[in-house]
Every structure is written in C-alpha cells, then in structure tokens.
C-alpha cells in the first residue's frame, strides 16, 4: 500500500461524512454577515485624512456635550439600541405568564436529554441535519464556544418550522442546579434579525472582546428572522450562556401561540 493510500485510510477514519455541512455553513455565514461595513475612502478623499482626527475630536466633544445635556434623550436612545426591534409586548407578557414547567433532577442523576429530531436528508429540518426539540422550534447548540470568567457561551442555531409565524419565547434552566441560562446577541452581528434577548437583565460580560448584556429569556420574531438558503426556515444564531458550576443538563421551555414545547440538552 502506498503512503498516499495509507494516509487516505488513516484520515478517513476520523472524517465522518457531513452531507449538510455546506447548507448549515451557508445559513450561518449569511446570518452572521450583517455587520455594516465602513466604506473605503476614495482616492479623492485621501488628502482629507489629516483633518479626520480633528473632526473626530470635535465630534466627540459635541457628542459628550449632547449626552450631558440630554440625559433623558440618551436613555431613550440607549434603550432603542439595546432592543431596536419592535415587539408585541402584550403578546410577550402573555407568553411570559405561562408557568415554567421544567423539573429539577438530583445532582449526578442521568440527564434526560431529548427529544432530538434527526433529518439526514435535510428535508425535515431545513438547514439543520438534526435539532433538539419537537417543533415548531428546533435548536442546535453545536456552534463555537467562548469561555469567560463567568462561564461559557455557545453560539446556538434556532430554526422555526415555516408553517409557524409569530412571537416565540424561550426560557432555559439547569435541571440540576436550577441556574438560569442567559441569552445574548452575538456581538459580531450588529443586526438582530428577530432574535431578541429579553426578560431580566442578568449583568454583562465580555464575549469576543465585546461587552454584551445578558438576559434571562430569548424572544424570536419569525417575521424578522433571517431565512435559510432555501428562503423558507427562519433562522437565528444567538449566544446561550451557562455559568460556571453548571451541570450542562439544560431544560428548555419554548412558548408560542398555540403551543408549549419542552426539550432537554446535555451539553
């Protein structure tokens, strides 16, 4: 056997097939690529670069003065930046009023993970090959993980069955420690696209070198969510955070008009 054939065999053993990877990567890339790009300076503008510093300093002074004098305006603006998407608060309150029905289990007990819907052909779950949940909302917490002094964040994909439209509320707890799972925006994605961390603010953290506020709930607005490559399945990719000491056995309750869904994920 040639060295080339040996290497093929050796590496193939650790390379499982990933038939849906291109589709999942495509959905991720298109969802993440929403950062507003600063336009490049044209050649004719380059001589003006020297003045840019002075102009920037003057702008900073004006902004600071505006902030000092317009405290109320600043607060309004700040709240707008934090949650720019309009949300139906009446509907959200109704969903929040539903009791959280997540059982606690003994420390060290087996995590009752599931259910999981497998879709090897990709037809059942749109951009996902499998998803946690029974629908109409499915999650896949296999994205990059980021560790901080507080805990660990996982970039998690949520997809919603195209037949469902409306507001969705997601809450999660550690089933062994009862710690609240927090939600936050991916700080590299400046546009929210229908996935809105909500509920109580649970402090802030530094993730990917950005300060991010953490919230105890996640609201999904299907009308504003990004769609998968086929343009059908609403997709969102927020951060989920688990504090240090979490057991990793996480129960999710998903509420929407006409349904309540539970699933457990062992991270």
């Amino acid at each position: 056997m040639s060295l080339r054939a040996e290497i093929h065999d050796a590496i193939d053993e650790v390379t499982p097939p990933a038939p849906m990877l291109a589709s999942r990567v495509g959905a991720y890339v298109l969802a993440e690529d929403r950062v507003v790009r600063r336009p490049r300076l044209g050649t004719w503008m380059r001589p003006l670069r020297g003045m840019a510093g002075v102009l920037a300093a003057a702008l900073v002074v004006v902004l600071l003065a505006g902030l000092v004098l317009g405290g109320r305006l600043w607060r309004d603006w700040n709240s707008t930046v934090t949650r720019p998407m309009p949300i139906n608060h009446t509907q959200l309150k109704a969903l929040e009023a539903r009791p959280l029905n997540l059982p606690l289990i003994d420390a060290g007990a087996a995590c009752p993970a599931g259910p999981i819907l497998e879709s090897p052909s990709g037809s059942e779950l749109g951009p996902l090959a499998y998803g946690d949940g029974v629908g109409p909302v499915y999650a896949q917490g296999t994205g990059p993980r980021y560790a901080t002094g507080w805990g660990t964040y996982i970039l998690t994909a949520y997809v919603v069955r195209p037949t469902f439209t409306g507001l969705i509320l997601i809450r999660a707890r550690d089933l062994q420690t009862n710690q609240v799972v927090v939600f936050a925006h991916n700080p590299l994605n400046k546009n929210y696209y229908g996935a809105i961390p909500n509920g109580d603010m649970a402090g802030t953290d530094f993730v990917l070198e950005h300060k991010v506020p953490k919230y105890t709930e996640l609201a999904l607005q299907t009308e504003n969510m990004y769609r998968d490559l086929a343009g059908l399945w609403p997709v969102a990719v927020p951060l989920q955070g688990f504090s240090k000491g979490s057991s990793g056995c996480i129960g999710f309750q998903v509420d929407g008009t006409g349904f309540t869904e539970h699933f457990v994920v062992s991270y």
Binding site: S2, L3, R4, E6, I7, H8, A10, I11, E13, V14, T15, P16, A18, L21, A22, R24, V25, G26, Y28, V29, L30, E32, D33, T142, G143, P144, R145, A147, T148, G149, G151, T152, L229, G231, F242, K244, G245, S246, S247, G248, C249, S266, Y267
Partner: protein, 176 residues
C-alpha cells in the same frame, strides 16, 4: 459545475445565498476534509470550516485572482485550524471549564489510532498541512504552494522533510 474563472468576485457582487452556493459551498467539503485531517476532531473541524467560511465570505471581494479561490479558501481553513488548536489549549489551561461544558478535545480521544495518525500529529502545523494537501486532498505541488504561500521548491523540500519525519525508513521518491 461552476468554473471559478467565470465567477464574479468583485466587491460589488450581490451577497446572496446564490452567490454563496456558487462560490463557497463547493469548497466547504474539501475544507472540512482538510480541517478533519489537521485537527482529527470532526466537531472542531466543522467549527473551523464555519469560521473560515465567514472570513472568506467577508473578504471575497478582495480576491483578485479568481483562479486562486480554492487555494485561498483552504489557506483560510488551515489558518483557522491553527487558531483552533491554540484556542483549545488556551481555553483548557486558563478557564478551567466544568467537565460537562469544556470543549473536550476529540484530538486526544481520537488520535489514539494508527501509528500514521500519531506520526502526523507530531508534525509541526506547516509540515502537516503540506502532507495533508498533497497526499490527502491530492493537490498538485503548485497549488499546495499557493495554499501555504511558498515557492514550489520550498514546499517540495518541506514535504520531503515531513515524510522523512513520519517514516524515517521510507523511500522518498516512491512516496512522492
């Protein structure tokens, strides 16, 4: 099949799902194979390809020579693999994640296989990269050189050296 030379790569191109499907989607699979070969850890490889795809997507307009798309993309994947190995080590050391949440290194788990995989694991990143590109992705030396950013002669010497390290007793000319 898409001919890369015909693909519009100007910065003014529309950033649509179709653009991704035409340009980058065909490269995800070879990127994944490269990442698996470099990391020996399928979930980590998927992460590396995902991040590399996002980087490539954002920088697509800067690529001048369209015929270099595959080599350029695989170069980004290789760089993400290098970063993934660094991040994994740094995370395990500095943050002390709880066991159930830590990024379990599949590399240590999986790489207890054949002598050949162990030998490849011991190679430095750049040596392993040329071995994988040449022997596993079956790329010609000029394209391997384009991925790693070196001259063909230098890549050939690196390949000889890497093979010699993996298999000190092998006849190099037969291997290459």
């Amino acid at each position: 099949m898409l001919r890369v030379a015909d693909s519009p790569l100007s910065s003014a191109q529309p950033r649509s799902g179709q653009t991704f499907t035409d340009l980058l989607a065909p490269l995800v699979e070879p990127g994944y194979r490269l990442a698996c070969a470099m990391l020996h850890d399928a979930p980590a490889a998927e992460d590396a390809v995902q991040e590399a795809s996002l980087i490539a997507w954002r920088k697509l307009g800067r690529l001048q020579d369209q015929s270099r798309l595959r080599a350029w993309f695989l170069g980004i994947v290789a760089n993400e693999c290098r970063n993934a190995r660094r991040r994994r080590w740094a995370t395990a050391v500095s943050h002390g994640l709880p066991d159930t949440l830590s990024v379990i290194s599949g590399e240590e788990r999986v790489l207890q296989g054949t002598d050949l995989r162990n030998a490849m694991r011991r190679l430095p990143h750049d040596d392993r990269l040329v071995v994988v590109l040449y022997f596993y992705l079956d790329m010609p030396l000029p394209e391997v050189a384009a991925v790693v950013g070196g001259a063909v002669g230098a890549v050939r010497r690196r390949l000889y050296r890497a093979v010699r390290r993996m298999r000190p007793d092998i006849v190099i000319e037969e291997a290459i």
